[in-house]
Symmetry: C2
Amino acid sequence: MRKISASDIEYIAMGSTVLGTGGGGDPYIGKLLAREAIKSYGEVELISADELKDDALVVPIAAFGAPMILVEKLFSGDEFVKAFEMMESYLGRKIDAVMPAEAGGLNGVIPFSVAAQKKIPLVDADGMGRAFPRLEMVTFTLHGIPVSPITQADEKGNRNVYHTINNVWGETLVGATTIQMGGSCAVGCYPMSGKQVKKAAIHDIVSYAQVLGEAILDAKANHKNPVDALIDKADAIKLFSGKVSNVSTKIDGRWNKGICEILGLDKDQGSHLTLDFQNEFLLAKKDGEAIAITPDLIVLIDAENAQPITAESIQFGTRVIVLGMKADAQWRTPEGIELGGPEKFGYKERFIPIEELNKK
Amino acid sequence: MRKISASDIEYIAMGSTVLGTGGGGDPYIGKLLAREAIKSYGEVELISADELKDDALVVPIAAFGAPMILVEKLFSGDEFVKAFEMMESYLGRKIDAVMPAEAGGLNGVIPFSVAAQKKIPLVDADGMGRAFPRLEMVTFTLHGIPVSPITQADEKGNRNVYHTINNVWGETLVGATTIQMGGSCAVGCYPMSGKQVKKAAIHDIVSYAQVLGEAILDAKANHKNPVDALIDKADAIKLFSGKVSNVSTKIDGRWNKGICEILGLDKDQGSHLTLDFQNEFLLAKKDGEAIAITPDLIVLIDAENAQPITAESIQFGTRVIVLGMKADAQWRTPEGIELGGPEKFGYKERFIPIEELNKK
């Protein structure tokens, strides 16, 4: 256990943007909510999954919606607490700890505001180790943990509870109402026991986000190279460096789909990279050949300051570096690849780990 | 109080089709479910609203969805009982009686199957006195009764509870998930007290449906004119008689919108009638002049046998008679016209009662 202060949140938010792999919603608003809650209610206890009692009730709390809208539409803040309280009331039991469903993006920090207000610990674990666009795309699904009951609250005051027959139906039904709600809402989902968290979750991911955020921000503060610092701490592979030459985007409901094209500079001079995104970056191809494939992480950063760039905010002409990071081992199993791999997103490529694709 | 037998259901279903005004879903499947339940579990007590205790808990149970799908997609039957049981469990209280939300169409008979299985009375009242396409279009809304909590069950086993900020949001959110569920589901909604039913509901409407059904079916059995018998019992105005010359239909989600054109025969020879429908028939114009306007009832019947024709099953060339019936007085108030009148459906006509439009 350690205490998380408002300044820790700064680092965690930066690291969450890295793990967001271009999606997951920019953590800016989530960071503000988390810092504000910590200032008002006190620091949050971050506990490791192993510190949980086996019979503890743990509930991931998350923002759900379209990345563009999660950035633009302000949360009132209390919809997350409402989703939390609805879960307690529906289950008829106190929740012992919250956790992020996804450590990537906005959802890496959102649960801190609930933990602070409710004065309960936040578990240093998540269900992705990155960001993914669909509710069922979590390691919890790989362990047969049901997404239901799902509690849903919007800023207007609508409050719903879903009990779906499987995790894909959770995405389908909550996705449909979220569009009607204006594109974003708060959800509580995958209520589980401490024992289940220990087995199914990706451990220590919040601390890992903090390490990545510290690498970038501390290097900058100390006039060192933040890109090198990030690559070092993330054990990342530098896939490409170049200049954004084109972005084509199609927004459809909860989806921000498109392709970002990058022309090579430096040692990549003359080469051409395409980044396919569906909320998150999912496939990187260099001169037509795949060099990074989901569920491995593809991270686009600004070459000047190592700031991760989200897919909805890519700007023509920006000098960028593309990094690849290994997905958690759970994602690299046949079941993990089936749930979060290229086929699931309609790509014809088969998953090959980045370290194999980029052997020297 | 009187007992409703399987053979009463036959009459009620026929009368519900009249009150369905072309929408509300064909009662055929609902009738089978209701008769089967009565055969298995015994006759259903039909009680008047005035027989309810003021503090009784009454819940309308209904099929919700697109008319075309309500006809084609088979209900498993137990989704209605599930919606009922979810409501009891959510409210933490036994339901004392069920009632139809709308007496028109499928929903005029569906609640009988639940009443039979649960061995509780069915209240002889509804919230429309007809059929209407949207969840908030009930007299309950005129009395400020919230639609929430809404319980929703589909035949696959998905079970949700909605707590929306107003009745329109109930339609919006349940409508969105119903499309995903394949276009139909069962809902429990507008839980209310006996006192509220007495004040807000349209009384004796189930018995009225039975009277209309008996008029048609008994006339046929006795080789009398069923059209005249229906007109007499319904105090209906015979608006037009002719032959269907064209039907244009556009299906979009929960909506079956279109126009039915009828060329005049007999005394209407040379005239032309158009029937605008949005699930239900909402506007009848003879040679360009409105002769019946929602919320008044427009009923299309087969000229041969007085069988009411639903909008999704109109066939070119059929000889038809168009009837107009007065809406319940609650619909003819300024608030009623605002909720269920022509403006609500996007027509430029203002509501004028059929008896005024068709003065001799």
